[in-house]
C-alpha cells in the first residue's frame, strides 16, 4: 500500500498534459470554538456556565501533489479525512496555514447551489446561477436550452425550485455548473443524489471536460463512479496523502484497508 505513493501518477499510454495545479506541502488548521461539556465533567449543567475553548483541528498535514491537464482525479478517504478541506484549499476558499496551492487558472468548485433562490423558478435560477459563475447574460441565453435538456426537467422548469425533490435540484445545479467550460473543476459528492440515469449522464459530462483538456477532481464514496471517470486517484486519510497513482491501484489499496 505504501508502495503506491511512489508510483508514477499516470499510465504511460495516457500521457498527461502540462501541470495545472501544484499543491505544495499544504497544511490547514481550523480553529474551532468548542462549547459544551467535556465528556465526564459533572459541572456545566447550567445555561450560563458554558465552557468555551479554542480547539485547533489539523485538517491537512502536509499534502503535496501535482495535477495535469487531461486528468481526472478521484479523491477517496473516510469521512472527516480532509477531502473536502483539500478541495476548498485548492479553490482558495480555505486559507493554507502552511504551504500553498498554485494553479494556472482559478479552480471552480461545483457549488453553484448556494447562489440559487428556492422561491424562484428553475428558469430564473439558471440565469442567476450562470451569472454567479461569471457568465454573461447572452451566453446563458445561448446555452439555456442545452441546460434544460440536460436536467430533464422541461415540464418543471417554470415551477419554484422549492417544489423540486433533492434529486431534481441536484440535476439543475450540476447542469448549470457544468454548462460552462471549466479548466479545473471540482465535483464534491454532487453525483450521489441523482438516480442511475443521471449519474451516467454526469459521468459522461465529466469525461467530456477531461477530454477537452480540462482537469476534474471527483470526491466520492462511490467507487464505481471513480472507476468509470477517473484515470488517477488520491487517497487522503487523517489529513495525509496515503496514496497517489492509477485509479485501480489506489482503489484496490483503499478497499483492502477498509475491510
Amino acid at each position: 500500500m505504501a508502495g503506491t505513493t511512489d508510483q508514477p501518477a499516470h499510465d504511460a499510454a495516457d500521457a498527461p498534459g502540462r501541470p495545472v495545479v501544484a499543491v505544495d506541502d499544504l497544511h490547514v488548521d481550523y480553529r474551532v470554538l468548542a462549547t459544551g461539556r467535556r465528556a465526564g465533567a459533572d459541572s456545566g449543567t447550567k445555561i450560563f456556565e458554558r465552557r468555551r475553548e479554542i480547539h485547533v483541528v489539523h485538517a491537512l498535514k502536509g499534502v503535496t501533489f501535482v495535477a495535469h491537464a487531461n486528468e481526472s482525479i478521484g479523491v477517496v478517504g473516510s469521512n472527516g479525512s480532509g477531502k473536502s478541506t483539500l478541495m476548498r484549499a485548492i479553490t482558495g476558499l480555505t486559507p493554507a496555514t502552511k504551504g500553498a496551492v498554485y494553479a494556472s487558472s482559478r479552480p471552480n468548485l461545483l457549488g453553484v447551489g448556494a447562489a440559487l433562490l428556492p422561491e424562484l423558478s428553475g428558469e430564473r435560477n439558471i440565469y442567476l446561477g450562470g451569472l454567479a459563475l461569471g457568465l454573461k447574460r447572452g451566453e446563458i441565453d445561448d446555452m439555456f436550452d442545452d441546460i434544460v435538456e440536460f436536467t430533464g426537467l422541461k415540464e418543471f422548469i417554470h415551477l419554484p425550485m422549492r417544489t423540486y425533490s433533492s434529486g431534481m435540484s441536484a440535476r439543475l445545479k450540476f447542469a448549470i455548473a457544468t454548462a460552462t467550460r471549466h479548466d479545473i473543476l471540482i465535483v464534491d459528492e454532487a453525483l450521489s443524489v441523482g438516480d442511475r440515469a443521471f449519474q451516467k449522464k454526469s459521468e459522461a459530462r465529466i469525461r467530456e471536460i477531461r477530454e477537452s483538456a480540462g482537469t476534474v477532481f471527483l470526491v466520492s464514496h462511490q467507487m464505481q463512479s471513480i472507476r468509470d471517470t477517473c484515470n488517477r486517484a488520491i487517497w487522503i486519510e487523517k489529513g495525509e496523502l496515503l496514496a497517489d497513482g492509477p485509479t485501480e491501484d489506489v482503489l484496490a489499496a483503499y478497499e483492502n484497508r477498509k475491510v
Binding site: A22, Y30, A103, K136
Partner: protein
Amino acid sequence: MSEISEVVEANGLHRVGARLPLGTYLRETWDRRDFIWTMAQYRLQSENERNRLGMGWVLLRPLLNALIYGLIFGVILGSSRPHNFIPYLLTGVFLFDFFTNSMLSGGRSIINNFQLVRSLSFPRLVLPLSVVLQQFLSFLPAIAMMLVLTVVFGSLPTWNWLLLIPLIVLFALFNTGVALVMARLTVHFRDLSQFVPYINRILFYTAGVFFNPATVLQSYPHLRLIFDWYPLNHVLALGRGILVRGYHIDYAYFWRLALWAVGLLVVGVIYFWAAEERYGRDD
C-alpha cells in the same frame, strides 16, 4: 518541495486565492454588474413572493412606521411639532428607511451569504453592492408614494422636485459606503449584527425624523454645530426643502452631503477590499 517550486516556475502557475490589485478588482466587479443587478432584482421578488401582498409590503412597511411615529410623537411633541407635521414626518420616515435597510442588510451581506462566499469565487464587493441595489429598488416605489402623499397633504409639485434626483444619488452613494464598512466590520465582530439595530435607533432619534433640530436646539449653539455636519440630517433637511411647503433648500447641505457620500464610498471600497481574502473563513 523544490520540485514543486520548479513546476510552479516552469508553468507560470500562481498562488490560488490571492487578493487582486484594487484596479483589477474593481474592473472584475464591473464585469459582474449583470450578476449584481439580477441578484438584487430576484432577491427582492423572492423575499416578497410568499406574502399575500407581495411587493405591497415595500410601501406598507414605511407607511405603518410613519403612522406609529406620527401618532406617538405627534401627541408628545404637542405644540412644538414641526410646521406641516404630516408631510414633514412622511419625508423623514420614508427617506430614513432607505438608510436603515441599507445599513442593516449591508452589514449582513457577507455573513448571510457565507455558503455562497465559500463555494464560488467572485469579487465579494458584489454582495454588499447587490444588497444596497436591492434596497434602492424597493425604495423607488416608496419615493413615488412619498410624492403622492406630500401632494395629498398640501404641497404642490415644482421644478425643485428635480433636485430629488441628485439628492437620492448622493444618498445611495452614502448608504453604499456605510454598507461596505458594516459588511467588513460584521465579519470581524459577528456580534455587531446584534448591535447595529441600536446604532440605527440612535441615528433615527437624532437625525430629526420627527423633530426639527433647528428649533429644538435653538438654545444650544454648540450642538447645532454638529448638525451642520450630520449627513443623515442633511438628507432629511434637503428632502423637506424640496418637498414640504414652508421649508427651504440649504444648498450648502448638498456640498457637505456630497463630500460625505464620496468620501465614505472611497473609504468603504478600500476598507472592504483590503480584507477580501478574509471573507468566507471560519476564524
